[in-house]
Amino acid sequence: MGTATSRPARQLAMVFDLNKCLGCQSCSIACKTLWTDGPGMESMWWNIVNTMPGGGTPRDVFSHGGGYRDGQPVPGKFPAQREYGEAWDFDQQAVFSGSERIPLHPRERDGSTPSWGPNWDEDLGGGVYPDSFFFYLQQICANCSKPACLEACPREGLYRREEDGIILIDEERCNGYRFCAEACPYKRIYFNPQRAVAQKCIACYPRLEAGVAPACVRQCPGRVRHIDYMDNKEGHPHKLVNEWKVALPLRPDFGTEPNVFYVPPLAPSAFNEGGEFDDTKRRIPAEYLREMFGPGVDAALETIEREREKTTRGESSELMDILISRDWNDLMGPFTQNPAELIRPPVTR
């Protein structure tokens, strides 16, 4: 409550490999169908994947304040629902049964045409042709070690689990004040207007407790997502973050010490004037990547390139083996249980 909280006994961590993401949103749909299909949750995307550089979700996602500067909380804003993207209505009835030929047209609650939504500027990216570039950025709550959300709440509406560091909202205590949503610099807290409570990613903790990886991890066809406890020295997060130093926090300047880390995007080289690849020139500007992933990004990219060249030469590379994870169970640390093989209690709703 309002003060820095002590570290949990164990911390769960994830690494998302930006070089492997297909932008398919299977993760987003897996989460949506599992957790956010209830009343008042229609427009929530606890997991969302956005094209970067781009506006993100909500629009201009990293410009709403929150987090910490010099250890002090930074005032933040909670953008309106349409800045995240409302749950649009579609004129399906008219399209299917109308006599005229009309296009399927999304509408906001007030009938107007949407001007923003999740992954709104899909695949636009940045750069100038032929050196255009983009990458997909997956975002969930990062279960930060300095959770600005939790520390902003004046009534202990959020808490951190000692056994894995997952930050949860206690809906019995939450009064819908939304200081947490203002304070989260990643804008990963949603608001349920029907129930007047804040809601966010819960790291699929009921699945974790049954040994099953989170839905976004298990459903990812790109094998983008690695999960384990950070204290497991053999686990992928520890290896990638602390040993190989190729997985970096997103916007470390926000000061919340997130526990989701990203393998930065390499992208192909830039072209030279003759229209040939120039292997000495990166296509994604270094300043942009440093802003996104901090000063460690240059060394991380060099390490990945070096290890990749090793495998090109036929040598072995532990780093490449981890990033590729030929056996997909290796991505999931201790959470390899197949949910289909669990004996499940009957669903009550």
């Binding site: 309002g2 002090q72 309106a80 995240y84 709440c153 004046p154 009534r155 819908g176 004040y177 939304r178």
Partner: protein
């Protein structure tokens, strides 16, 4: 009745009418003395969140200068009415960044005494009846200090009715005298505090206008 600035709310005894309980605009209120109660912004430095203290350091809160309060007992039920001007009413939570207007009355749980500025302490809890625009059921909450508020599950006997009329909210809290909870009985004198939140200014939680000290509510015998 003319409103006067006062620290006492003297309840009137009103014969129950066949129209049911006293609503926000019931004519029966004409028999009660309505007093104008000055409010003040809650102090920012005691807010139990560094984020709130920082984010609101340069923002105004506590923008409701006063509230008009009256009390009456009809048919064994206590009614407390609060009326205040809200120039930009927020009658419901309609979006992420929309906050509803709200008000509350506060009592020491034992009906005798507790620290108002701290919302009580472990030995002396307080109880509040809290109305938020857009909801039909009041929250009855208890606290033993700032940031410790817990909600009491119904049935708690407290009901609320609110009307937006002529640029002002009229909110009536009602509770049978013999109900569990704060001992508000016929003939009792009970400390009472009042708070108002203006949704248009994003007031919520401890960011509100309040009576910095207790008033007294005199319940007719």
């Amino acid at each position: 009745m003319t409103a006067v600035t006062a620290s006492r709310i003297v309840g009137a005894r009103i014969a129950p009418t066949k129209d049911g309980p006293l609503g926000p605009l019931s004519a029966g209120w004409g028999a009660a003395v309505e007093v104008e109660v000055p409010l003040e912004p809650t102090p920012l430095e005691v807010q139990p969140s560094a984020y709130v203290r920082t984010a609101w350091a340069d923002r105004k809160h506590g923008a409701t200068p006063s509230v008009r309060a009256a009390a009456a007992v009809a048919g064994g039920v206590l009614h407390v009415r609060l009326r205040w001007k809200a120039l930009n009413p927020r009658p419901a939570i309609t979006d992420n960044n929309v906050f509803a207007d709200a008000c509350a009355v506060l009592f020491p749980l034992d009906g005798k005494g507790a620290e108002l500025a701290t919302m009580g302490d472990a030995a002396h809890p307080v109880q509040a009846w809290h109305w938020r625009a857009g909801t039909a059921i009041p929250f009855v909450i208890q606290a033993t200090g700032l940031g410790t508020v817990t909600r009491q599950a119904p049935p708690h006997g407290v009901s609320v009715e609110a009307t937006w009329n002529a640029d002002e909210w009229s909110v009536v809290f009602s509770r049978p005298l013999e109900e569990q909870g704060v001992p508000i009985r016929g003939g009792a004198t009970v400390p009472i505090g009042i708070a108002v939140w203006q949704g248009a200014l994003e007031e919520r939680a401890g960011l509100k206008s309040h009576t910095p000290g207790w008033l007294t509510l005199e319940v007719p015998a």
